[in-house]
Homo-oligomer: 392 residues x 2
């Protein structure tokens, strides 16, 4: 049985990412014959991880290929620490968000204990609300900062002000449900989620930009996350784009991409500081710019211009097949697109940009949360039979 | 015998990169036992690719592990098209430059035919001068521009003014010695050569910067070249660093990294344009700066400052274990290092830079040529017995 495990994980991964698939499609995607699919599926059914059913719309005439679907009770807990908001969700095998809870977070001064305490309380609510027989197979978390691979240590969180805080370990301790917490940088996870099931499907070389208050980056090279020497790669937000009269950045420098294109830059350029902050304030500027407000339009143009410089540089460096705008940039990019495109035309090499498509996230704001969920599913997918799950 | 081929290539690769190695060391590095090494070596000896000998300094007392060395006659032809100079070399298995020829090249106006004609003539001289029994196993070429993988088409050469020129195919036709010509971008090849046998050994995440007239980049992510969607990644020279009053760049834009840090920027800042150009002129500015000439020192400081911005951005994006300065930057970097370091301190995230070492190339100006040679050796190393070589 042991020799089957890599294939079992591959089959389960296909069903997790694509949802219900016929045995015929699975055989084709995995490059194996149908009897192999039959045997693998039988093992996964016995383990309670998948079910089989007749495809929707068939009436029993003929014998269509059975459809393999994720078992409904298998799930992970996924957490998302963004600048303004803490989110916890129960995400099922197959990628559906089954239940979610969230809480507002103060922009500064939140210490490790309060963040972990809030998340753990949200997580317990989700556990208590889960239906009978539901089985949690892992925990993943997305964090808006630099994360040490392996132990989920927050090395640096510029907005929240954390340095070397044992976030992953403390959250696991507070939850105490028998799983470690795998933690990743929010934009890294967003990039992986877009590649698996979003706007980056089939594009193994892609750049994902995640706008929160700042701008994070997740870059895939040949289908793999660019980690670098220590796992801290992709810090696009601190690429210096304006060395002459740059706006101050939360990192202590000036003129970083996120200082020129983040929420504060947009609101300041629109003459709206001091005033409300957050996603609603950003959307208001974009809406007013589209409606013809000249100050709002100039603010979108200015921020779009700096964003375009950043994107042009990334196209020169990475020759990506796609650049995907997520988080707050899902709202900003469509309005700023002409300014971004003009900078790409001026500064990106024609050969580098000839196949680069610009897209917004396809995951409706859940890219980072779904990426966190996939961290939680990783151990199950690596070795599906190691879990000894009760049959659901 | 077929099942041995991957291992045969691995053994040959070790000997090619490291030079003569004892059977004991090979067994350890490959994680196999000595009898496997014995069998593999016997096949490679029979194919004329390696020889065995007693290690230097042993006198026959005891039975030290035999040393496996590359066969002396096995070589490739390697070509290097730089801005001022065309080079051809015969490079042996093991990486030694056995013979070389070069010719000056006019900076502009050289068409495909004249470059190919000159290189082919140099190549024929090398072939004619090779000792009896020498065997050419491939041809590689380094080019100072953007190269299409697969067929060696020059998509864009900013200095030489080429667009979509079939360089690899034409050079192969002109040489007519039974091998295709594998072509790569000079900085890509330099990065690979530094990783294999230079300042990047053991550093799978590295950034190599190659100064010629412009600045090229070769970036390894997890030990593999960052190609991107079409193979055109790593265009660091056209990262926009000075959007406000940037110097004009040969690409048509302004303020690109190479426009602010290349040869022309240094000579202009030093008040030496019009005047002599090329590597000697660059070295003269660096020498005068070190000797206390204030104008030369200010030029080195200015260029070093822009170079530092570029390096800081690359550290943020790639979290490299090393940044390696090659080509003209081997001369410039040591003098400009304080200015580069100051910018890294200001703009690179502390976590991103904590393990990044700054080094100059260890290959004495031959990084791109040795990278080209490795392109030529690639087919042999992939399948050593496919060549049917005469025993040397």
């Amino acid at each position: 049985m042991h020799r089957h495990r890599p294939s079992l994980g591959t089959l389960l991964h296909h069903v997790h990412v694509s949802g219900p698939l016929s045995r015929a499609v699975l055989a084709e995607r995995m490059g194996v014959n149908r009897s192999t699919i039959l045997a693998l599926t039988a093992e996964l059914v016995a383990a309670g991880l998948v079910g089989e059913e007749h495809p929707a719309g068939t009436t029993g005439a003929g014998r269509p290929s059975l459809v393999v679907r994720p078992a409904p009770g298998i799930h992970v807990l996924a957490f998302d620490v963004a600048v303004d908001r803490l989110t916890a969700a129960r995400v099922g095998l197959g990628g559906a968000v089954l239940d979610r809870r969230s809480a507002a977070r103060a922009r500064s001064g939140a210490d490790l204990d309060s963040v972990v305490g809030t998340l753990a309380a949200l997580g317990r609510e989700l556990v208590d609300a889960a239906p009978p027989g539901a089985v949690c197979v892992g925990i993943g978390a997305s964090y808006c900062g630099m994360i040490r691979p392996g132990d989920g240590m927050v090395r640096y969180g510029p907005e929240i002000g954390w340095v070397d805080q044992a976030f992953g370990a403390e959250l696991a301790k507070a939850l105490d449900i028998g799983h470690p917490v795998a933690v990743g940088n929010e934009a890294h996870l967003g990039a992986l989620a877009e590649f698996e099931r979003g706007a980056g499907r089939g594009v193994p070389d892609l750049v994902y930009l995640h706008g929160d208050v700042g701008v994070g980056g997740g870059i895939l090279v040949g289908g793999k996350l660019l980690g670098g020497d220590g796992g801290y790669g992709c810090e696009v937000g601190h690429m210096l784009v304006n060395p002459v009269d740059g706006r101050p950045c939360l990192c202590g420098s000036r003129g970083c991409l996120e200082a020129e294109t983040g929420e504060y830059a947009l609101l300041a350029a629109a003459g709206r500081t001091p005033g409300p902050t957050g996603a609603a304030a950003v959307r208001a500027v974009v809406r007013d710019a589209r409606a013809g407000d000249p100050i709002a339009a100039a603010a979108v143009a200015e921020v779009g211009d700096w964003l375009g410089i950043g994107v042009a540089n990334l196209i020169n460096l990475f020759n990506p097949g796609a650049v995907i705008f997520g988080g707050m940039l899902r709202d900003l990019f469509p309005a700023a697109a002409p300014h971004v495109a003009a900078r790409i035309d001026r500064h990106a090499m024609p050969v580098s940009r000839e196949r680069a498509r610009l897209r917004v996230s396809a995951l409706a704001g859940d890219a980072t949360l779904l990426g966190a969920a996939d961290l939680g599913f990783a151990a199950l997918l690596a070795d599906p039979l190691a879990f000894g799950l009760p049959v659901v």
